[in-house]
C-alpha cells in the first residue's frame, strides 16, 4: 500500500568510488564434475574480487557455471562428483583452502552466507522457520533455545515478516513464496556476514514480489555494508543494483566490467546477443534478434572460443584459440573475445547503445 516515489540519481556511482575493504578474492577457480558420460567442465578459471559494500552480479544462462561458482566459494560443491581447483579463494586475505574443516565452517554461514533460488525446497520442511533461523545462534553462538527463538523473531521482523512472533513456529509450507525467501534472508543474515551470495534469489517469485525482495536485499546490504554477489540469468534484475558485472558462458567468464560500462557498452558478442534477445518494455518494438543455436555441452566444449558456433563475428582464430580476458581500447571492462574491437565498432557504427 506504500508507494515509493521516483528515485533520481544524478550521478551513477561507479564501483571504484564505492569500494571498501577487499573481502573476497577468487583466483583461477575451476570446478569439474566427473560423470559417467564424461567430465563436465562446469567452471573454468574464474577470478574476481569483491569489496565491502560492493554488489557483484554474476550473469549467465543455465549451464554457464554461475551457481557452481557460488557453491565452490561456499565450499559446498558435492564431492564426488565435484572436483574444485583454485589457485586461491581468499576471504579477508586468508586462503580458505588452508583452513581446517572446522575453521572453514566458521567462515561459512558466519562470514559468507548464501541464499538459494527456490526458498521452498531450500528450507527444511520438517522444522519450523524459527528453529531453522535459531539454529544459527544455537550452533555458532551456543545460544539457549529461548534466546535463539527471540533472535529469530527479531530477524524475522528485520526482514519485515508480519506478525513474526506469531509465525515463528510455523513451517515453511505455511508461508508464501516471498515470505519464504525473507526467511532465507533472515537466516543468512543472522550472524551479520560480511559477504552474502544470493543465487537467483527472485527467479521463483513473481515480479511484484521480486521487487519487494530486491528492495529488501538492497537496503540490508547498505545497512550492513555487505559484499553482495548476485547470481542471476536476468539482465534486468541486476541492472539497477550491480556495481560490477561478470558475464559467464559455458563455464567461463566472457566479460567483466563496471555495471555502467557493461550496460552501456558491452563488448562481447554473447553480451550483445543477450541484450538483443531480451524482450523489453521500453523502446521500439523491434523484432527480437535471438542468438542462434544452443549452448554447448559442457562435456564436449567446442575447441577455441566456446561461443564460436553461435557467434556472428566468428573467425578462424576463434575456432582454434581460446580467447582470454583482455582489455580493449575505449572500453573499461575486460572481454574474452578475439574480435571485441570489431564488435565495438560494429555497434558504434550501427548507432546502437543501451536499450536497443
Amino acid at each position: 500500500m506504500e508507494e515509493v516515489g521516483s528515485v533520481t540519481v544524478a550521478d551513477i556511482p561507479s564501483h571504484q568510488q564505492k569500494v571498501g575493504e577487499v573481502l573476497l578474492e577468487v583466483e583461477d577457480l575451476s570446478v569439474d564434475f566427473k560423470t559417467d558420460a564424461g567430465v563436465v567442465k562446469a567452471v573454468q578459471s574464474v577470478s574476481f574480487t569483491l569489496h565491502a559494500g560492493e554488489t557483484l552480479a554474476i550473469i549467465g544462462e543455465s549451464g554457464s557455471g554461475k551457481s557452481v561458482t557460488a557453491q565452490a566459494i561456499m565450499g559446498i560443491v558435492p564431492s564426488p562428483p565435484g572436483v574444485v581447483n583454485a589457485h586461491a579463494i581468499r576471504f579477508r586475505g586468508q586462503n580458505l583452502a588452508d583452513l581446517t574443516e572446522k575453521d572453514r565452517r566458521k567462515v561459512r554461514g558466519q562470514e559468507i552466507a548464501m541464499i538459494f533460488q527456490d526458498p521452498l525446497t531450500s528450507l527444511n520442511p520438517v522444522y519450523s522457520v524459527g528453529k531453522q533461523i535459531g539454529e544459527m545462534f544455537r550452533v555458532h553462538r551456543g545460544a539457549s533455545r529461548k534466546e535463539a527463538t527471540e533472535a529469530a523473531i527479531e530477524l524475522m521482523e528485520q526482514v519485515r515478516i508480519p506478525e513474526a512472533r506469531l509465525r515463528v513456529g510455523d513451517y515453511p509450507h505455511q508461508f508464501s513464496g516471498g515470505m519464504r525467501q525473507r526467511v532465507m534472508i533472515a537466516m543468512a543474515l543472522s550472524l551479520d556476514p560480511a559477504v552474502l551470495i544470493a543465487d537467483e534469489p527472485t527467479t521463483a517469485l513473481d515480479v511484484t514480489v521480486q521487487a519487494q525482495i530486491m528492495e529488501l536485499l538492497g537496503s540490508l546490504q547498505e545497512e550492513h555494508n555487505m559484499g553482495l554477489i548476485l547470481i542471476t540469468h536476468d539482465l534486468g534484475v541486476v541492472a539497477s543494483v550491480a556495481d560490477t558485472v561478470q558475464l559467464m558462458y559455458a563455464g567461463g567468464v566472457v566479460e567483466k566490467a563496471g555495471a555502467d560500462d557493461f550496460y552501456e557498452a558491452h563488448a562481447h558478442p554473447y553480451a550483445e546477443g543477450l541484450m538483443r534477445s531480451i524482450p523489453t518494455l521500453i523502446g521500439e518494438d523491434e523484432r527480437l534478434i535471438p542468438i542462434e543455436g544452443a549452448p554447448p555441452s559442457l562435456i564436449r566444449l567446442p575447441p577455441g572460443c566456446p561461443f564460436n558456433p553461435r557467434c556472428p563475428y566468428v573467425t578462424d582464430r576463434c575456432r582454434t584459440e581460446k580467447p582470454l580476458l583482455r582489455s580493449i581500447a575505449g572500453y573499461a571492462g575486460l572481454v574474452a573475445c578475439h574480435n571485441a574491437e570489431d564488435v565495438r565498432s560494429a555497434k558504434v557504427g550501427g548507432g546502437g547503445g543501451s536499450g536497443e
Partner: protein, 340 residues
C-alpha cells in the same frame, strides 16, 4: 519378500515412500541435476527408458548372473530329465527303493555320495532327483502367481487411479481390508478351505496367492497412474480430443507401468518363497507333490542328524529366489535413475 506374511507392511511403507518421493516422476524424468544443483541443462533420459535400461542392464554382470540362474531353474522346471541324466543314480524321483538293489539290505537316508549326489530321503528316493523336480512347482507358482496377481493388480490399480471417485473408494477399501488381513493368515485359512478333501495342488496355491497378493501391486500402479494422469502431455492429448481409452492406453499406461513391472519382477522370487513357506506350514502343496517347501517340512525333525535334507532344497530355493530378486534389482536400478 520371502516371508510373504510380511508382504503387506513392507509394501505399504514402500508405497508411502514412493508416493512421498514421486517415484514415477523421477523414474520417468531422470535428472541428474540433483547433484549438479540445477546449473546445467541436462538432456533428460526419458523416453528411451526401456532401451536405455536395456543398454545399461546389458553391461552389468549381476544381470547376466541372475539371467543364468533363472535360465537354469526354468530349464530345470521344463525338462528336469536334462539335469538328472548325468547323475549315476538318475531316477524318477518317485521311483524309490528302501532296499539296496544289490545286497537287498534295508536302507534309507543315505548320506550324499558319488552315487546319490544329495543322498536319499527317508523313503530311499534319490534326493538329487527330487530336488531337481522341485523346481517345476516353484517356477509355475512363481511366474503363474505373479501373472495372476499382476493381472488383478493392474486392472484394480489402473481403474482406481484413472477413474477415481467411487470406483477408487471401493477398490481402496478392499485393498485396505486385504492389508489388514495378513497375507499368510489369509492363505492359511483359505487354503484350508480349498480342496481340503481332494488334496491341494499347485493351482490352488497359485490361485490363493493371486487373489490375496495383488493389493501391493495395485497400490503401486494406482500411484503411478495418478502421477501420470496429471502430466501435461495427458492434458495435451485431451485438448486434441483424444478419447479416454486412447489417453489411458497410449499416454497413462505406458508411463505408469515401470514401477509395477519392477515390483512384479522382484515379486516372482517372493511368491516362490511364499509357496515354499505355505507348504512348509502344511497348508500349501501336499504329498505326494514334490516341492522344496514340503521337503524341508518333512525333514525338520532331522535337522540335527541329517541337515543335508534341509540344506539342498533350501539352497535351490534360495538360489531361485535370488535369481529373480537380482533381476528385479538390476531392472529397478536401470529404470529408476535415482539409484544410478
Amino acid at each position: 519378500m520371502s516371508d510373504s506374511g510380511r508382504e503387506g507392511p513392507e509394501s505399504s511403507a514402500e508405497e508411502a515412500y514412493r508416493e512421498e518421493h514421486r517415484f514415477v516422476d523421477e523414474a520417468v524424468g531422470s535428472k541428474m541435476t540433483a547433484v549438479l544443483a540445477g546449473d546445467f541443462e541436462v538432456v533428460e533420459k526419458e523416453a528411451g527408458l526401456f532401451s536405455d535400461a536395456w543398454k545399461q542392464v546389458r553391461r552389468r554382470k549381476l544381470f547376466w548372473f541372475s539371467a543364468v540362474l533363472i535360465g537354469i531353474f526354468t530349464l530345470m522346471a521344463i525338462a528336469p530329465a536334462l539335469f538328472t541324466l548325468p547323475s549315476p543314480a538318475t531316477h524318477d524321483p518317485r521311483e524309490c527303493s528302501l532296499r539296496n538293489p544289490e545286497t537287498g539290505e534295508f536302507q534309507d537316508l543315505l548320506q550324499p555320495s558319488s552315487e546319490h549326489w544329495f543322498g536319499t530321503d527317508i523313503q530311499g528316493c534319490d534326493y538329487y532327483a527330487r530336488v531337481v523336480h522341485g523346481a517345476r512347482v516353484s517356477i509355475i507358482i512363481g511366474i503363474g502367481g505373479t501373472l495372476l496377481l499382476s493381472f488383478i493388480g493392474l486392472i484394480a490399480g489402473g481403474t482406481s487411479g484413472f477413474y477415481g471417485g467411487w470406483t477408487d473408494n471401493v477398490i481402496s477399501r478392499i485393498v485396505d481390508v486385504l492389508y489388514a488381513f495378513p497375507f499368510i493368515i489369509a492363505a492359511i485359512l483359505f487354503l484350508n478351505l480349498v480342496a481340503a478333501e481332494t488334496g491341494r495342488n499347485a493351482w490352488h496355491v497359485l490361485l490363493v496367492i493371486g487373489v490375496f497378493g495383488w493389493p501391493t501391486l495395485s497400490r503401486i500402479f494406482r500411484g503411478a497412474v495418478l502421477q501420470a494422469k496429471e502430466k501435461e502431455y495427458v492434458e495435451a492429448a485431451r485438448a486434441l480430443g483424444a478419447s479416454n481409452n486412447r489417453i489411458l492406453f497410449r499416454h497413462v499406461f505406458p508411463n505408469a507401468i515401470a514401477p509395477a513391472l519392477v515390483f512384479a519382477m522382484i515379486g516372482v522370487g517372493g511368491i516362490i518363497g511364499a509357496e515354499a513357506a505355505l507348504s512348509f506350514l502344511g497348508v500349501g502343496l501336499q504329498l505326494p507333490a514334490i516341492s522344496w517347501g514340503l521337503m524341508i517340512a518333512n525333514s525338520q525333525d532331522r535337522i540335527a542328524t541329517d541337515p543335508f535334507l534341509i540344506f539342498f532344497p533350501g539352497l535351490f530355493l534360495s538360489l531361485t529366489v535370488l535369481g529373480f530378486l537380482l533381476l528385479g534389482d538390476v531392472v529397478r536400478d536401470a529404470l529408476d535413475p535415482r539409484n544410478r
